[in-house]
Symmetry: C2
C-alpha cells in the first residue's frame, strides 16, 4: 500500500513516538527498528513487516537528520536562468561528474537575483548555513564584494565561462573561443568566400572578443582584408542580429557569408535572409557558434562551432573537487577545444 505524507506522518510534524517506542511495540531491538527505518537490507522479512506495521500504527515520524558518519557533501551550481538549453547542457555535465564524485548538486538561479555590488537576500549566507563544500558559477560576473565574501569564507569556487576576465587567481573553465573563431572563418574561406561578415556578441564579453579575434586572424593569414563595416556587435539574442543582417545586406558590397557568434543570433539571421528572399546556403552562407540542440531544428540545419558545454561543466566540477580536497590547480584557466559541425547552411559563394 502506498501512502503520501498526511497530518499524522509528516516529517514536518513536531510530535510522534521515538524509535524506542516503535521497537518495543514491534518487539525488536532499537538497532533493528533503526535498520528498517533506514532501509537496510539485513533484516528478516517478517521482522521488517512487524516494524513497518508498528511504524504505521504509531504514526512514527522520521526526523530528517544528517548522517554524520558519512555526510553527503553538497556543491552549489549558481546560474542566471534555467529555462534554456545552454544551462541544461551545463547542468547535465555537472550532475554526471558530481555523481561520480559522490556529491549532490544544489541548483539555483541566484545570479538572476543579485543586485550589482551586493548579494541578494540570503544567497551567499545560505551557502554557509548549508555548509556548501564548493560553488560553480555559470556565465557569472561576480562583484568584488562577492569575491571577497567567498574568500573570507574559504569556499572554493570555479567559474564556467565567466562573462568578463576574472581576477587572475580565479579558477575558470571555458571554450577555446579564439580557435573557434578561426575554425568558422577558415571553413568559409575554404569554400571560397572573401566577403565574410561577423555578428559578434557584446563588446565586453570575453568569449565574444576572442571569437572576433579568431575571425580576424583567419582573414589575415588568408590575406583577406578585414572590412570594418562587416563587423557588427549584437547581444547574443536574435532580434539585434536580425537588424544587423538587414544592414549588412544594404551595404554597397554585401557579404556572401556571415559568421554569427551564437546559434541564437543565427536564428535572427535566418529570419532576415528569409525576409529578403535569400536562400541559405545558395545566396548566403551562415555559420553559428555553440551547437545548441535548437540548431538542429532550423531549415537548413545550421553549420556551427560546437562548444563542449557538458564537458566544460564536468571539468569545472572535477577542478572544484580537487580544490575542496586542498589542491590548487596549476593553471587557473582551462580551455576546451571547439570544433566545426558542418551541416547544411554553408556552401560556395554564388556565381
Amino acid at each position: 500500500m502506498v501512502r503520501t505524507a498526511s497530518a499524522s506522518t509528516s516529517p514536518g510534524a513536531p510530535s510522534g513516538p521515538t524509535l524506542a517506542v516503535v521497537a518495543r511495540e514491534a518487539g525488536v531491538s532499537v538497532p533493528t527498528a533503526s535498520k528498517v527505518v533506514n532501509g537496510r537490507e539485513d533484516v528478516a522479512p517478517e521482522t521488517r513487516r512487524r516494524v513497518t506495521e508498528a511504524l504505521d500504527r504509531l504514526g512514527y515520524v522520521r526526523r530528517p537528520r544528517f548522517d554524520t558518519t558519512k555526510p553527503t557533501r553538497l556543491v552549489d551550481l549558481v546560474v542566471h536562468s534555467l529555462d534554456n538549453s545552454w544551462s541544461g547542457a551545463v547542468l547535465h555535465g555537472v550532475e554526471e561528474a558530481a555523481y561520480d564524485a559522490d556529491l549532490d548538486v544544489v541548483v539555483s538561479a541566484a545570479l538572476s537575483r543579485t543586485r550589482a555590488g551586493r548579494p541578494q537576500r540570503g544567497w551567499l549566507d545560505k551557502l554557509t548555513a548549508r555548509g556548501s563544500a564548493g560553488v560553480l558559477f555559470n556565465l557569472a560576473e561576480l562583484t568584488d564584494s562577492q569575491y571577497a565574501w567567498l574568500e573570507q569564507h574559504r569556499i572554493p569556487f570555479v567559474m564556467i565561462d565567466p562573462v568578463v576576465e576574472p581576477p587572475p587567481e580565479v579558477v575558470s573553465v571555458g571554450a577555446a573561443n579564439w580557435q573557434g573563431g578561426v575554425t568558422a572563418t577558415q571553413h568559409l574561406l575554404e569554400l571560397g568566400h572573401e566577403r565574410i561578415a561577423v555578428i559578434a556578441g557584446p563588446r565586453r564579453r570575453m568569449c565574444s572578443s576572442a571569437r572576433v579575434a579568431g575571425y580576424r586572424s583567419a582573414l589575415a593569414s588568408a590575406g583577406v582584408a578585414h572590412r570594418p563595416e562587416y563587423l557588427r556587435h549584437g547581444d547574443f539574442d536574435e532580434s539585434v542580429a536580425h537588424r544587423h543582417t538587414h544592414e549588412l545586406l544594404d551595404l554597397p558590397t554585401p557579404p556572401t557569408a556571415v559568421f554569427v557568434c551564437s546559434d541564437r543570433m543565427a536564428l535572427g539571421v535566418y529570419q532576415a535572409l528569409a525576409e529578403r528572399g535569400l536562400r541559405i546556403p545558395y545566396d548566403v552562407s551562415v555559420v553559428g557558434f555553440d551547437d545548441l540542440p535548437e540548431s538542429r531544428w532550423t531549415t537548413p540545419a545550421l553549420t556551427t562551432v560546437r562548444q563542449p558545454l557538458g564537458e566544460m561543466a564536468a571539468t569545472a566540477l572535477r577542478l572544484l573537487v580537487r580544490m575542496m580536497d586542498g589542491e590548487h590547480p596549476e593553471g587557473t584557466r582551462t580551455e576546451l577545444s571547439t570544433r566545426l559541425v558542418p551541416r547544411a547552411s554553408t556552401a560556395s559563394p554564388p556565381g
Copy 2:
C-alpha cells in the same frame, strides 16, 4: 585580493587553527571573529580588516557546518535527464517556487540510474542521509519497492507528469492532456480538415492516451469518422514519427493534417514532408504538442499545444511544501490547462 582555496585554506583540509586562536591573534573576542567569518555586517571595518588578516596569516579553515538555529531545508528534484529543454522548463519552475518557499533544490538525474525493481547504489539512501524534506519526481515511473521505501521513510513526494497512472494516493501534477488533444483537433477541424491523422506517443504513456482520446472526442463531436489507419503510435522521438509520416502519405487516402503528440516528433514529420516535396501548411498542416522553445526554430514555425511545464513544476513544489508542513492535498491529481499556440504550420486543406 582574491584567493581560491589552496592547500592551506581548503574546507576539506583536516587541520587548522580554531576561531579562538584567530580571535586572540586579531585581538578581538571570539564572537566578533565569528561575525567576520560568517559575513555579518555589524563589525567595524578596521576590526574586520584585523580579523581577515589574522584569518589569512593563520590559514584559518572554515568548517562546513549546518546552522542548526535556521537550517536550510532541502528538497530533491529527481529527473531522467537534464540536457533537454523539457527538464529546463520544469527545473526553472521548481527553482523559482523553491526560492519563494526558502527551500534549496538538489537536482539529480537519478532516474536514469535506477534498475527496474530496485533503486541504484545510494540513490534513495542519500535522501535519508541528507535529510531531504521532500522529493519531486519528473516523468517518473516508480517501482513498488521505491514507493514502499518513500512511505517507510515518511518522505513526502509529488510526481510531475507521471509516466503511468500512479497509485491513487500519490499526489501528482500534470497537464490537461485530453483537453489539449481536443483543442488541437478542433483547430484543424475549424480550418476545414477532415482527414486528420494523429501520431501519438507510446500506448502505455498516460499523457499520450489522454491526447488521443481528446482527438477522438473532437472528431466524434464534429461528426467526422475516425479512420483507424490514421492513428499511429510513436515513442515521442522524431525518427519513428518520420517513418509514420511516410506511411501515412502512402495511404490511398492520405491525411491533409497531422496532429503530432510532441514537438520533437513534429520535427520528424517536417523532415518526412520535406523529403516528399510537400509544403507546410499549404499541402499538409501540422500541429505539435508541448511548445518547447525549439518549436520556434522550425520553418515554418510550429503551431502547437502549450503545456505549462514551469507552472506545473511550481505547483508541484507548492503542493510538496504543504505536505512537508503536514497537510494532505484534497485531490491527489492536479491538471493545468493547455492552450493552442497558433503559428505558421496550419492552414486550410488544399483545393
